[in-house]
Assembly symmetry: D2
Homo-oligomer: 293 residues x 4
């Protein structure tokens, strides 16, 4: 007896579903970037929509698609995970003949070689995301990065300057001049933006923008002089989460100045406050057009 | 010397910000529900928007507002965390005189006394969420619940029926009749819906709807007979994540049939598949109007 | 037909098991502390051992025990979760007649009213843990606290002092005198210690010890002057994770000086470094006797 | 001015520290296994001990050591992360001349090609851990694996058999014969064991042992027939967490029968119960000698 294709059952009075699929699928993906072959440990979420009269989506097809794409990447490494996501949505639409919309989201740790302020080589870890939504063949691609850096509070710095001036009136000139103690902490910047058709955006550039928007980037290996320079840098660049978001937005509209007005972009900064048990947070979610007004 | 109010600095060429505030603030909240006084361990996220020409938001005001509201709850317990969220947004708008929009999100573990199929009393744990967005005095309130239950796969059940029929042709009648083995697993249902002005929605009712939409609710204490009935119930009610979402939507539009068309609602079901290392997922995000079409 | 008691099956060539039980059981618990009635949202892990010839442990008995103890706490609130843990292990040993060892671990968020340096009232969140191991009636009780505070790096402060002296030779005296910029960050202190029979330890006291060992405690509500004093305090008290652990150990052996030598204690400090993406960590796990040498 | 080496300060009345170091360091590591070159995204924790009279440990040396080892792995890929951990501890002891003990712990996602019951190729994800403790040159190496699979409850199966027999007396023979419905769920098996000097243990073999001890392994891609066979397999192999741990222990002592008695081993099974919101758990932590008694 052939078992019923339960997914394929027709139902009455059903509702269509926005997204049906799988989350948390882990696979190694081969990527070719700047002439270097990398293996990313990637996590995939994959969805299609479902019409109101069909009972279920054939979920195993999602896994077959990922399997094929990942196998192909062994032969012919992809250059960008947002393009991988776009390819996956095309295959998803073909396999799920009842679907009008497919979505793929890929996240991975990503490593870049950096130089500390003193010039030492270090490998830094970031999170990247490729995301594609395919509505009947029209594909929207998005790229995202998550960057851990450092922010130092400009408000507490001025409060402390005033406190020190009161306590040490004899050092007035010095205290007005030098960088003053404040609270500083880990700050996580998340940038996610649309990539218009025919354009490309490198994750490395968004990571660079995020690091420039912070009080200072951070590094895994810091010998004493490097550590001093990072702390100094952060204190001559004190930033609120609000400043971090705005500075990133400025750098983005400048760098991608030929991108169309309807390109969407979102920037977040979350500061794991050293003086509080909670976080400070700022966000702008908008389009290039609104930022240009 | 009075330190500069750095937040209050005027800036040029700035961008307005969508949300500025604090995340992950933990506080105990007193709640009065059905004549019972409860203390919830709640986590708050609080935001206001920020105009383009102001450097920073005064974050400590957010914490003062939460502190006051929580203190007041000691005297006069609130009945619903979405109303608490709404009250907070009103205070936030008053304190942040530059803001046009305020948002509060409150999440907590919530316990309900339940009866197992065999009638034993048990305390079950859920997650609830109260959420309010206040745009210049116009408040949108949302309530959310997250419910862990059980789903059994209808497709694998039919596959197994066919397999067993082939292996045990002599038991044909029995195998066609009785509930057949399949994979079953934890399934997390998330319902979030708007509460139109002048209406109310009880978290307990949404929890009940979620549990009815699953193959079976689950329980912390199950003696042997209870356990048997839960497993039986799940297998005579096999459900895809798609079924769970649709059944919850049916129960919601039926129960809240007088709610206006523009009321928004989102239902998700995530199944921690016992036969896979990844999850299965279904979602519908829509309005009551679209569901009524 | 009565179903087989599968757990009770005798097996041959089996191995005894160290711990069999349940993890992640959530329940509200009523606690009476300092005359105040509190409801904690607690998470329980419960285990017994299992002899080599018995197939399974009766897990539902663990849940019944928790249910009874929690019900009793409604009538007669417990004063300490480590005593609750001890009571649970006694009941576990009675119910699991085959067990020689029972263990209970209870964790919860815990709130204390504190005063900021400027005297403002604030509610602060901590984690507490009660833990008991009962070997054939001989009970060991443990209490644990987890405290989020702030640490400022003493090494970077001296590096920066040297850098500033070089850059601003004219301010030599000032730079040698005032607190100098450094990196600071969230630091999580975990203290766990045994409570000898006949003695008691208050979670509040361990929380106080943890906060004194940090560069500064942190607070949810900080107006500008308070914030200034917290930052100042942290910078006149710069601490490595090593310093935090040692200072907590000093305070512990001093405060509990009448505790017997065999009392075990563990102190950890984990600093979420603002200049790195990784954490710094220090730990000492030992006995009072070794600390007194 | 040379800044003070604050770490190197001599202190009086200090306590020695058990572990001082860094946690959560992420790096890509090149591994050569079975002729295949792999890149793992690894997370490192690194510690040394600290004598009572020295204020601080030089944490940046830990990062330098990881950096060097990882760089070397680009040229000459390592074959096992427990050997990598052992190499790191040797370097740590050399760099921290004051330390008598060094420890390294490396965790990573690890992928293996598997065949489904129907013979389809699939890539499955696991977690592996390499761990080494070096006490003055005497190195202990440990290897760990974490495997997600499926367990089906043998007790509920017999309860349901009895229930069905009562409900369907006419199908007595069938119900006694065929596999009967029960609850099944994700089960996470963790094996960690010592590797005696001169011996080696392959992570792949421990993964295989874990999968054999479960009711069934799980797979990312399952077409209908495969899915049927996995569900069938799980139900003819119903297992408690207790059974899973014991079966893994049996396979371990058999496979590594030439390992010395003092070799330590720990096996855990945690079942994310589909009928409860909490987990079931079993553990045995012991030595080969005790298992052989």
């Amino acid at each position: 007896m052939t078992p019923t294709d339960v997914q394929n059952q027709r139902i009455e009075g059903g509702f269509k579903l926005t997204r049906v699929g799988v989350t948390g699928v882990k696979k190694p993906v081969n990527v070719l970037r700047n002439g270097r072959n990398l293996t990313l440990t990637a996590t995939f979420d994959l969805f299609v929509d479902l019409p109101s009269d069909q009972r279920g989506s054939h979920m195993s097809r999602n896994l077959e698609v990922v399997g094929e794409i990942v196998d192909e990447s062994l032969e012919k490494p992809v250059s960008a995970i947002e393009d991988l996501a776009a390819q996956i949505t095309e295959k998803l639409l073909k396999r799920h003949e009842y679907a009008t919309c497919a979505e793929a989201r890929i996240r991975a740790d990503y490593f870049m070689e950096k130089r500390t302020p003193g010039g030492r080589k270090t490998i830094e870890a970031y999170r990247i995301e490729g995301h594609a939504i395919n509505r009947e063949g029209r594909v929207e691609r998005y790229i995202g990065v998550q960057v851990i850096g450092m922010s130092a509070c400009p408000c507490a710095m001025e409060t402390l300057r005033a406190m020190l001036l009161e306590e040490y009136p004899e050092f007035d000139e010095c205290i007005r001049e030098i960088p003053i103690i404040t609270h500083n902490q880990r700050n996580i910047v998340t940038i996610k933006m649309q990539i218009p058709e025919g354009y490309s955006v490198e994750a490395e550039n968004l990571i660079e923008i995020a690091e420039k928007s912070l009080s200072s980037p951070t590094f895994e290996v810091l010998k004493r002089d490097d550590e001093g320079r990072v702390v100094y840098e952060a204190h001559v660049n004190p930033k609120f989460v609000e400043d971090v978001v705005r500075d990133a937005l400025h750098l983005i509209v400048e760098r991608y100045r030929d991108f169309p007005d309807e390109t969407s972009v979102s920037v977040k900064s979350e500061s794991e406050e050293s003086i509080h048990k909670h976080n400070a947070f700022a966000e702008r979610t908008t389009t290039f057009g609104e930022l240009r007004e």
